[in-house]
């Protein structure tokens, strides 16, 4: 791989950093607008057409705000963890084949699915560190809750995320996307639905938004953050949601692949990928809109008594079912 101008363009502009950032801001707006309409509200309306620039304006404002560090905070971790979690989430998005190939201009490698999941696990841990380092009781509680919840839900999520690879016969993100002649959401719907539930917990969205339950813990692990650091915490939350949607779209909805009408297929690939991301976000927001927040003990009980065994069962079922799936898709054995 040469490190010329095209490489830097891909990493920094498209489909790298800038693209991910723009998609994140757009998804933030989209999410808020969809949620608002579901709740019979206006949502963002004034900044730009249909309020589309509202997230941008929010971040500009946050970045200009005073940055306060609590006296007892662990200064180094407190400063580093927001940026670290943001970068890790962005890095994890880099491995997805946005325009057919990933940011590094290749089709990925065998097992990059596992790498991405590992990066995200680490990113979650930095979110925990951010709460832990701010030495505030609310942030401390948020940090404990994020770890407790995450340790539980990471296991079923991992099991469910690798299930499609039984049919795709690969652990590579690009190959899993490519092998979906019928979207896996239709082919193995049981995995898809369970995955969405586990994902909702992973993304800390209602009914699993326990770590930053605002009426209990003010802002959970983010309570002490302000200014730039808070902006990065918020950004990493937003990128995390994009990551969740991208992962779902890639594993279950065929990733970038869709009808190519005319012109460059790369543009069409990106278009289909974004459309699928938005579809996933609508589903996630719908679940969020109709649920109350559960309690930590409810969630943990549901996880260990229901999610983990059912995920394992679904995995086994998928393994037994994979020859049929291949038959349905018309793939030779």
């Amino acid at each position: 791989m040469s490190l010329g101008v095209p490489f830097f363009f891909r990493v920094l502009v498209f489909p790298g950093f800038l693209f991910v950032l723009l998609i994140t801001l757009f998804c933030d707006w989209f999410e808020r607008k969809v949620m608002a309409r579901m709740q019979n509200r206006m949502g963002p309306s004034y900044t730009g057409p249909f309020g589309i620039l509202q997230p941008f304006a929010d971040y500009v404002k946050l970045f200009t705000k005073e940055d306060i560090v609590p006296r007892h905070a662990e200064r180094f971790l407190f400063a580093v963890s927001p940026i670290l979690s943001f970068s890790l989430f962005v890095l994890s998005v880099f491995y997805f084949p946005f325009d057919g190939v990933n940011v590094f201009s290749n089709a990925g490698f065998e097992g990059d699915l596992l790498l991405v999941l590992a990066i995200v696990t680490f990113a979650h841990f930095t979110l925990f560190l951010s709460g832990w380092s701010s030495s505030n009781p609310y942030a401390g509680f948020g940090a404990i809750r994020i770890l407790t919840q995450f340790v539980g839900y990471d296991i079923p999520l991992l099991i469910l995320a690798v299930s499609p690879s039984l049919i795709a016969r690969s652990l590579s993100l690009a190959k899993i996307a490519e092998s979906q002649l019928i979207p896996f959401a239709l082919l193995i719907p049981w995995i898809f639905i369970l995955f969405l539930i586990a994902l909702q917990a992973e993304l800390e969205e209602d009914p699993f938004d326990i770590p930053h339950a605002d009426t209990e813990l003010v802002a959970g692990y983010g309570t002490e953050f302000s200014g730039r650091k808070f902006a990065f915490i918020r950004l990493s939350k937003d990128v995390q949601i994009v990551f969740g949607a991208v992962l779902t779209a890639n594993l279950f909805l065929g990733g970038p692949y869709g009808p190519v009408l005319y012109g460059s297929p790369n543009i069409w690939f990106t278009f289909w990928f974004i459309l699928k991301i938005l579809f996933v976000i609508v589903i996630l927001q719908l679940v969020k809109a109709v649920c109350a927040r559960l309690r930590l003990d409810h969630v943990l009980r549901a996880n260990w008594r229901f999610m983990v065994p059912v995920a394992l069962l679904a995995f086994v079922l998928t393994a037994l079912y994979s020859p049929w799936a291949h038959f349905l898709m018309g793939v030779p054995r």
């Binding site: 009914p207 209990e216 927040r293 559960l294």
Partner: protein
Amino acid sequence: MKPEEEVASLIQGKLQSSVIGVKTPGPRRADIMVKSGFHRDAVSVLLEGFPQTMISTITALDLGDEIELDYHFWCGRTEATIRTEVSKSRPEIETITDIIPGASLYEREVFDLLGVIFLGHPDLSRLVLPEGWPREQYPLRKDWSPELTERSGFSENKPVKVGTVWAGGGGGSLVSVVLGPQHPALHEPERFLFKLDGETVVDVEPRLGYAHRGIEKAAEQLMFFQDVHLVERVCGICNVAHSMCFCQAVESLGEIEVPARAEYLRTIVHELNRIHSHLLLLGIAGLEVGFESLFHYLWRDREIVLDLTERLTGNRVMAEFSTIGGVRRDLNPILANEIKKGLSVLKGRMRFYKKVFSVDPTFTARTMGIGVLKEHEALKLSVVGPIARGSGLEIDVRKHDPYAAYDEIPFEEVIYKEGDSWARLMVRLDEVAESIDVITHAVDNLPSGPYRIRVSRRMPESEALSRIEAPRGELLHFVRGNGTAYPERVKIRSPTLANIISFRQMIKGCYVADIPAVLASLDPCFSCTDRMAFVDVKDDRRWIWSMNEIKARRERKEP
């Protein structure tokens, strides 16, 4: 025998010569004056004769050389007042908290504002005044004036040590967490100090008074007709209840006969206000358990009621509707029709919400069986309103001590037996449906005639007690006149003061996540101030900083 005579003869029969005087000033009102030192016996007799007795409040009045203490009790069918006096030079009296634990906060209030020492009270600390308030200065005594406090050098901008440490706070895993005065779960300032073991609440210590604005004292400086507007501002949400209750007290003081049409119009606005308050609370309850959509839907439907209130009274929230001798505006037939139309839409929505509240799995998981207050505890702590009715107590003032037009309008008293957060919310949900029926009935049967009569500004030297069922429970106004246009004493007992004491009982053993949900089910109602409390987690030291100091800290940028 009438119920009030029953109470009076019971106490007179048991206490014989200790009773100085007995009066029955009106239906369901008994007034018993006992010799000093015998108030405990009178309370015990009352409790024996009427096991359902609850304390309403304690009113204290400065008579010059003596301080008069009026213990108000609701004993099922009568509001009994037990009266005694203590000398002002040595204001000491035995507590009744061991007989009725619900009296705890009222005794603290009297201690704080009039300096009466209740011997044997377990925790006789300040309730509403700031910690740094000078000793020997009691604002509700007649010889106090604001200049006295100014001269003593008191300033709210000085830090004050709060003092006491948690009892037995040595356990390693226990953490103290302050909730408030500013917190997303609280919509008005109020401080709770929680002692947590992991996620479990071990104990809680509330601190009230952040919203204390001295309205009772201010009311003595204004004329009766001005006070109507002052007491309306005690609470923004249940404002109609306050002005209505005060007007009723003054009307019974001056023996004014209110026109029947005004009684009906008051009932209509009172019930509109109740619907608005209940919907507001139910929405907030949704928000507190993380059910944002429910909040938005409920508040959208609340607009129906706010619009109708605006059409009828001229204001969306502060109705300013009742006045001494009637109401300020009349209801025309066109608006009457619109009220009925709007409320029938709302009634359909309420059926939908009832279904949501009963069957939604996430919502019921968060509220059912959480924050339980059993019936006997509710009785002991003398809680009122939907909290008491959620625990199975029948104490709706509209039903048992009818006022305005409630003796002519049929409606059901909503009772749930469960005593948990869910039951308290369901009481409110069902009450909205009942209120809609009450309004429809009142609009249909509105008597003709004047809606207001002119009254004199002067009121006779007498006293009156008025109770009404505010959205949050029994509201009590006690007014004494002195022959002029100014009241001698106005005592207000808002329902939250009666209810907040039960929070400690409910929350013990719950999880942190339940705190907002249980608190919301109480529907507490406070207002504003500018102080903050701090806890040093390491050594349990507590103190208070003023806003200025907080600013100073920030600007110094200490490491």
